[in-house]
């Protein structure tokens, strides 16, 4: 009883004052014994101790009774204040529960906010539910490694669009667009801008109204359409200073005058799937300027590159509309091999991003579970600690309901505070996430909404209430008498077991996260080991964006002009200090090509050889050397190779040589393209084009003089390539200042960017894993420390009997560690199960990779042992004499 009194007082006033009270109690006791006799004195002491417990717990002293009863506070408010006071006396406990819950809630709401903005929120079009995008698919492309990325992204031709627009009954409107680039001159420096071509129906169909002027009218579209331009808001702001008189004026696009007829509202994004496909972009939606669809294309222009929207008439289902589209197209005899699909616009954007977001959602969900488990462990531990106090209160007449209410209030405070911390962490988390620059679309839609915050608050409350109620539940399991007898007598069962189980579960979940993080990191490492086929270090690059017609309007003059320009630029670049070698290529690997070209092996016509598809690049002499692509046989191009118009020479890659000339040398063999024969003069090493994880595909390199388009310059330097990049820009501009430049970077940066998504995933899941480990360690520490506190008597006696503290530390820590081992074993099993679903994220590693599992188990095991041992060191603070005296 004396220990209980001391404990109660210590909780209120600290242990120093509690000891002082006991001394003063003893002093008065001895006075009573002297004045009233030993028996009366002892009776007084018993009474006094009982009164201390009663008044201490009943709130009789500290003025509580009179003051608060008198002030007539409502019961809840009184409990709330009492709860706050109780928690203030246990700051570490409160801090851990609140911090743990806040962290779990913050992480999960952060990820949920992203999922909400990216996957769930609808597109910013008018009545988006009625809109579908209309695409063709070519099943024969599906298994072609060169073309599979584009197999289901076949757009409509202009005449498809007009036919559909005129004949449809299922759609109330059809609108189409195409993305491209135009060069804007006469408004600051010449600049290459992302442009869109729109049918007159597009903006009204999507519900986009201009802030100034108008959009295109029916008739202002198609071949021969008037030169009209609708400016995007951002271009209007940046290049025209938001001047409203720009409407009606003329701007120069690709050297031709266009009349500005309107300005679109801020933030209009019309997603372009094809732009993303061909530019390896993820969020191609912002177009700086819009011009009429097909304004400069000839009649009968047959490219299938229009991206089409249809608005379903009320009551018309997708299947009915699809049947109509298929029928109309077949009736017009243009799409025999095409299978059409209708897809909601949002699906079009997010389809490929679901798995990585669900991965993050899963990881954050696990973290939340671990956080809840940790809070539960802490609350349960607290419940065990407080059983004595509560039992005493029940024994002294406090109603169970009253006590349950008080405990619930305390949990409510913890839950509320945890939710609050989570809500504060969420915007920080979202901001940090966005700052990491994840390769995800629709990030502009990511914002914290009230629904998400409400969900966060409810999660925190539910968790705290559920586990905070445990003390009340425990009460029903044990008789008060038994509890009073056991108070202060070593271990307590029940709640302790539940706590151990919770800890094991928590460690199990942490293991699952660690294993997943380990496997993702391992995949990233494997990816880093992949030889891309070139040496990226020391190579700087810059891309020219040559406006069409810049070097003349007919193909021949233009090609010659570009050829001369390229040679002059390369000459200047090679003369730059530190540059060892330089070259040019029509398109760099990473992001690389999506399409392939048709070649004939061994001839120039289908009948004279085998028709195959291979990737092809136009490269200048010196390109292979600059990139460090090894020449395995034959030779590189020379400037002298360029003059042959009716064919020429090509270099093939190793895969192509192996595949089509197995066992023999391809050198001297003929490859036909466009009816012209090309002689193979060299074989070079394979290069991974689009991603480190792809298998090399057959590739044909042709001479740069073939190409009449934009190109990238690459230069290898002895110094830092970063320093070289601006010099490359100067070199190009010294030759022709009218050429817009892009992609000024280093090859290393391009390669790194190609595995950005993998790095990002691995980083986040590892982050969640680290947080989970931290939480689990808090749990291990807490449970062990509590176990020491509960076993003070036993430990004290053992010490008095000569046990060494090191042995006792080991003994105490082992109790927790046994739970840890169970948790780790559970986690290993859980990891095997969970990672089966993650195989698509792994590269060069299997979901059951033993080393990763072993490393995760060892890491968590070692950390747990450390935390447990640290907590168990409290054993040394047990004073055997005191324990014996209290007995």
């Amino acid at each position: 009883m004396r220990a209980l009194v001391r404990w109660l007082l210590a909780r209120r006033l600290g242990s120093g004052e509690a000891d002082r009270f006991l001394e003063e109690l003893d002093e008065l006791h001895s006075r009573k014994c002297t004045t009233e006799g030993a028996e009366a004195g002892d009776r007084w002491l018993k009474l006094e101790l009982r009164r201390a417990i009663w008044s201490g717990l009943g709130g009789r002293f500290v003025g509580k009774g009179t003051r608060e009863r008198g002030s007539g506070s409502p019961g809840f408010l009184r409990d709330f204040r009492f709860g706050l006071r109780t928690l203030r006396r246990r700051p570490l406990f409160a801090l851990l529960v609140v911090g743990t819950l806040g962290l779990g809630i913050g992480a999960s709401t952060t990820v949920f906010t992203l999922v909400d903005g990216i996957l769930l929120k609808d597109m910013a079009y008018e009545r988006p539910g009625e809109l579908v995008t209309i695409w063709g698919t070519w099943p024969s492309w599906r298994d072609d490694p060169l073309l599979q990325e584009a197999w289901d992204k076949i757009g409509l031709r202009w005449d498809d669009y007009t036919t559909l627009r005129d004949e449809t009954r299922a759609f109330s409107g059809i609108g189409a667009h195409r993305s491209g680039t135009l060069t804007l001159t006469g408004a600051g420096d010449p600049v290459r801008i992302e442009s869109g071509e729109a049918t007159a129906s597009l903006f009204p169909l999507l519900g986009i109204r201009p802030v100034l002027g108008r959009t295109f009218l029916p008739g202002e579209e198609g071949p021969g359409a008037p030169h009209l331009a609708v400016l995007g808001y951002e271009l209007w702001q940046s290049r025209f200073g938001a001047d409203s008189t720009v409407v009606g004026r003329s701007v120069t696009l690709n050297g031709e005058p266009f009349e500005v007829i309107g300005i679109l509202p801020r933030g209009v994004r019309i997603h372009s799937t094809l732009y993303n496909l061909f530019n390896s972009s993820i969020d191609g939606g912002e177009r700086a300027v819009w011009v009429p669809a097909n304004w400069n294309r000839p009649e009968g222009y047959g490219s299938r590159d229009l991206e089409t929207f249809g608005r379903l008439r009320p009551g018309v289902g997708t299947e009915e509309a699809l049947a109509e589209v298929t029928r109309i197209m077949k009736d017009n005899g243009r799409h025999e091999d095409t299978v059409f699909r209708l897809t909601p616009p949002r699906e079009e954007v997010v389809a490929g991003y679901r798995p990585p977001l669900f991965l993050l959602l899963g990881a954050s969900g696990l973290l939340l579970l671990i956080a809840c488990g940790n809070a539960a462990t802490l609350l349960l531990g607290e419940a065990i600690d407080r059983r004595g106090e509560i039992s005493t209160r029940v024994a002294l007449g406090a109603g169970r309901r009253r006590i349950a209410q008080q405990l619930l209030t305390e949990s409510l405070i913890l839950g509320l505070a945890g939710s609050l911390v989570g809500m504060i962490l969420t915007p920080l988390g979202v901001r940090s996430f966005l700052a990491l620059g994840p390769s995800l679309p629709r990030l502009q839609n990511v914002e914290i909404n009230q629904g998400v915050l409400l969900a966060a608050a409810l999660t925190g409350l539910a968790c705290a209430l559920l586990f905070g109620f445990a003390p009340a539940l425990l009460q029903h399991k044990h008789s008060i008498h038994a509890l009073l007898q056991r108070e202060g007598r070593g271990r307590l069962g029940g709640g302790g077991k539940a706590q151990t189980l919770l800890l094991a579960g928590e460690l199990g979940l942490t293991m699952v996260l660690l294993i997943s993080a380990g496997l993702l990191a391992r995949s990233l490492e494997e990816l880093g080991r992949v030889n891309p086929g070139f040496r990226a270090e020391g190579v700087a690059t810059i891309r020219t964006q040559i406006p069409s017609d810049h070097f003349g309007s007919d193909d021949e003059t233009s090609r010659e002009g570009i050829g001369l320009f390229r040679r002059q630029v390369l000459e200047r670049v090679r003369a730059l200090p530190g540059v060892l070698v330089a070259g040019a290529v029509d398109g760099l690997p990473f992001p690389g090509l999506v399409s392939g070209s048709t070649f004939i092996i061994g001839g120039t016509t289908r009948s004279s050889g085998d028709q195959i598809t291979a990737r092809d690049h136009a490269v200048s002499p010196g390109y292979f050397e600059t990139m460090g692509i090894p020449i395995l046989a034959g030779r590189d191009f020379t400037e002298a190779d360029q003059v042959q118009d009716d064919g020429g020479v090509v270099v093939v890659n190793e895969t192509m040589a192996r595949q089509y000339w197995p066992g023999t040398s391809p050198l001297g063999n003929i490859v036909g393209r466009g009816g012209n024969p090309y002689r193979v003069v060299g074989v070079v090493g394979d290069v991974r084009e689009r991603h480190l994880s792809e298998e090399p595909l057959p590739m044909v390199y042709r001479h740069a003089s073939i190409s009449g388009g934009s190109f990238s310059i690459v230069a290898r330097t002895t110094g830092s390539p970063d320093v070289l990049v601006p010099l490359l820009r100067d070199a190009v501009q010294a030759v022709d200042p009218g050429i817009p430049l892009t992609q000024e970077t280093t090859m290393e940066a391009l390669v790194a960017a190609s595995s950005g998504a993998e790095r990002f995933r691995a980083f986040l899941v590892t982050g969640f894993g680290a947080l989970a480990t931290l939480l689990a360690l808090v749990g291990v520490f807490g449970v062990t420390a509590r176990s020491v506190a509960h076993r003070t008597r036993e430990l004290g006696i053992r010490m008095a009997l000569g046990a060494e503290s090191r042995g006792l530390i080991r003994m105490t820590a082992m109790t927790t560690l046994r739970a840890g081992m169970v948790g780790i074993a559970l986690g290993l099993a859980g990891g095997l199960w969970v990672t089966r679903f993650l195989t698509s994220f792994f590269f060069g590693t299997r979901p059951w990779d033993g080393e990763t599992y072993g490393a995760a188990a060892l890491l968590l095991g070692a950390l747990c042992a450390g935390a447990a041992a640290l907590a168990a060191r409290r054993v040394t603070r047990v004073e055997p004499m005191r324990v014996l005296r209290e007995e």
Partner: protein
Amino acid sequence: MSRDALGDLEHQVLLTTLRLRGEAYSVSVVLEIEERTHRSPAQSAVFIALRRLEEKGLLRSHLEKKSPDSGQTRRYFEITPAGLEKLREMRESLLGLWDGISAELDGAS
């Protein structure tokens, strides 16, 4: 009743502390109250009331060694000007209530 009004025990402890003039701690206060009121307050209640009154600014305390060669200390309390003011207030309000009813009480006894 105002928020900082005193309970009965606190009132008694405050008066007793004044009476003990610097010698007040739980033991001396309990003995003094017992002697003067012939009722025995819980020592723990007195102990806490002293600290509570200190929290309210009505008492102040200092630690002193029990004896010059002892390691143990004792916390002594004394009244503050605010405590004195509080007692004055209470005396006035109680006297106001007592005013004019002495005759009935005396007559009844």
